[in-house]
């Protein structure tokens, strides 16, 4: 009899299981990231049943895993690259056995590298990037023209017409980017600069919104015309709701990018199926379908020719490195530091900023 071992350990520790692909996979992440259509054939071929738990906020992932413990039984999660350090600190991530994911060879060189240590660090892989995107300026082209600069949103004529999502990490990362600062190494003395700038953008809104779905509804109803730190997927959401004039551009200052990776949390039981899942998503056809469905970028080189025109035109795949230099990936603030602004201080600042901007 083989022993099924669950290791509640940290980065680098491997999970063992019975090696059989099949059964139920407990999924914890954003709605849509379970890729029901792109993985339909894989699920059927392997008799996989996916039990989904969708999140409303990235913080739900660590909250559910840390409060639920091993009993929560989540087999697969995703993480935004900025959360890598926090998830390492919390012992959430486990090592992914690369020999079980042969399709890793399909990754773009950038995503196969260990830049930033977001997916691999010291030869230990903890995540497999499957989609990425840049947080552009999303706006209704029927109501306003394209803005060359983020600062154009501060024009008084846009007062009350700008939407913003309630995301401390995203909003302050963008503030850092505009000021040429790195959120991962933001000195405590520099925090007021970021707060002051962000406050100006918050003052242009009539309130921060709970989600991009909420912002889409406001764009469609005409309550707002633009989103500070938009998302290309909103174009698609709005089109589905009947508004086809919503588009997303990248202003001259650039923006920050996000890259989401599949990962195996320390609570996983059905590891073999998750490894098979990840391998399937690295297949060009599956990854292209995922990118189209998510209105995102593909991390798989041979998936590019399989994208539809609209999805392919989102990002310049012939100069991905150049694009990511303009819209880089950033780490989140550290968990503890006497020198740099920590995640807790960041959230506190965002809470106070929202209040003071509202008067």
């Amino acid at each position: 009899m083989r022993l099924k071992l669950i290791v509640l350990g940290g980065e680098g520790e491997k999970l063992a299981d019975d090696g059989k692909v099949g059964g139920t996979v407990n999924f914890l992440s954003w709605e849509g990231y379970d890729l029901p259509d792109p993985l339909k054939d894989w699920r059927a071929a392997n008799n996989i049943n996916v039990a989904t738990t969708f999140i409303g906020n990235h913080d739900d992932i660590q909250a559910k895993i840390k409060t639920g413990g091993a009993a929560s039984g989540y087999d697969i999660i995703t993480y935004y690259q900025g959360y890598k350090n926090l998830y390492t600190e919390l012992d959430i991530l486990t090592q992914i056995d690369e020999s079980k994911v042969p399709n890793l060879k399909n990754l773009f060189p950038y995503f196969a590298s260990d830049i930033g240590g977001y997916w691999t660090k010291g030869g230990v892989r903890t995540g497999v990037p499957f989609t990425f995107g840049a947080q552009g300026l999303t706006y209704d082209s029927a109501a306003m023209s394209e803005l060359p600069s983020w600062y154009d949103l501060l024009d008084p004529k846009f007062k009350g017409k700008v939407g913003m999502v309630d995301d401390a990490t995203g909003v302050l990362t963008m503030g850092c980017h505009l000021l040429g600062l790195d959120p991962g190494t933001l000195k405590k003395a520099d925090l007021p600069k970021v707060v002051d700038l962000t406050k100006k953008f918050v003052a242009q809104t009539r309130g921060v919104s709970a989600s991009y779905g909420d912002l889409t509804q406001q764009l469609v109803s005409g309550e707002i015309q633009a989103i500070y730190i938009g998302w290309a997927a909103v174009n698609s959401f709005a089109a589905t709701a009947g508004k086809t004039t919503v588009t997303t551009s990248l202003p001259k200052e650039g923006a920050y990018s996000f890259c989401d990776s599949f990962a195996i949390p320390s609570t996983a039981k059905n590891v073999a199926s998750v490894l098979s899942w990840i391998n399937a998503v690295m297949d060009p056809k599956v990854n292209a379908a995922a990118a189209v469905g998510l209105v995102g970028g593909t991390t798989v080189k041979n998936a590019v020719p399989l994208l539809d025109d609209a999805t392919r035109s989102l990002y310049p795949y012939d100069d991905l490195d150049g694009f990511l230099a303009k819209a880089p990936f950033y780490p989140n603030p550290p968990v503890d530091s006497t020198e740099f602004v920590t995640g807790t201080e960041w959230k506190q600042a965002w809470g106070e900023l929202k209040q003071s901007a509202g008067g």
Binding site: N57, D59, K66, R206, G207, V208, Q217, G351, K354
Partner: protein, 292 residues
């Protein structure tokens, strides 16, 4: 004491045991856990020794907490004033004036419970938005030149939505509380020369003061602790103190801070409840009884 008497005394005790066990397990145990968390030192989704009062002192010193508490109190007060203010005459009319229409009105009040909470919140966006029903009417009638933006993402929209959500609760509670206020009392007052104003001020108001105050406290507590409605309709200054609890537990993983704010909220609401119960007693209204 006879066996039958002892039995009749024990029956209510036994019958209330399951409910008491449920309350104990699902309310008191979590509350005790929160109380323990609030005095322990936290670090990223963990609490451990040593025992500390720092969570409370931080929570009390925080300008953000004070600002959010003020928001909560204002939103709760506005919702409670309007809910009870509207529910009281409505409940009176249903009890003494509606006659055959009572069943229809009661059905309408109960039916509003059946609509989803978020659906109602989003419905108010279409009503109060710049291209919503009210602004469209105002523009077409020429009353305003531009849409009134203050209707949405403001205290107005939050109050309107909360009143809409809690008005049925208040109406049904007050309607039930008016059951012993029979028409014969009102007729007797009228026969003794009391006009409508005097009947309200000298008969109905003293009798309904205690239940109205209880309803007021109920709506205040539920509105002040609600952070979903302000988040969707409240604008930049619409956040409430409940948001801090959520952020502390799920975002920052600071269980101690979240528990301390929760315990302080609990104390504040218990004080409100004590006032709700104590004031009628101080005024001697708690001793009012209906003659059967």
């Amino acid at each position: 004491m006879s066996k039958a008497q002892r039995q009749s005394r024990l029956d209510p005790l036994w019958s209330s045991l399951p409910a008491a066990a449920l309350v104990g397990f699902f309310v008191l145990v979590p509350l005790a856990i929160f109380a323990v968390y609030s005095i322990l030192t936290s670090r990223l989704f963990e609490v451990s020794g040593p025992v500390t009062t720092r969570n409370f002192s931080d929570a009390l010193r925080s300008n953000l907490n004070r600002s959010l508490s003020r928001n909560s109190a204002e939103i709760g007060l506005l919702a409670a004033v309007f809910s009870v203010g509207l529910a009281l005459p409505m409940a009176f009319w249903m009890r003494h004036g509606a006659k055959r229409a009572r069943a229809i009105v009661m059905f309408a009040v109960v039916a509003s419970f059946m609509t989803g909470y978020l659906v109602r919140i989003y419905a108010f966006r279409t009503v109060l938005g710049t291209s919503g029903v009210i602004n469209t009417v105002l523009l077409r009638l020429g009353i305003v030149d531009h849409p009134v933006e203050a209707l949405l993402f403001s205290r107005i929209s939050v109050t309107v939505a909360l009143v809409h959500i809690f008005l049925p609760y208040a109406t049904i509670t007050l309607f039930a509380a008016m059951a012993p206020l029979s028409t014969s009392y009102l007729e007797a007052a009228e026969d003794l020369g009391a006009n409508a104003r005097q009947r309200w001020s000298r008969l109905i108001a003293p009798i309904m003061f205690a239940p109205a105050l209880s309803t007021f406290v109920l709506v205040f507590v539920l509105s002040a602790s609600d952070y979903v409605t302000p988040q969707f309709l409240g604008g930049t200054n619409g956040a409430t103190i409940g948001t801090q609890v959520q952020v502390a537990f799920t975002g920052a993983g600071d269980f101690g801070a979240g528990a301390a704010v929760s315990m302080l909220m609990l104390v504040a609401f218990m004080i409100c409840y004590a006032v709700g119960v104590g004031v009628p007693r101080l005024l001697g209204l708690g001793r009012l009884r209906f003659m059967s």
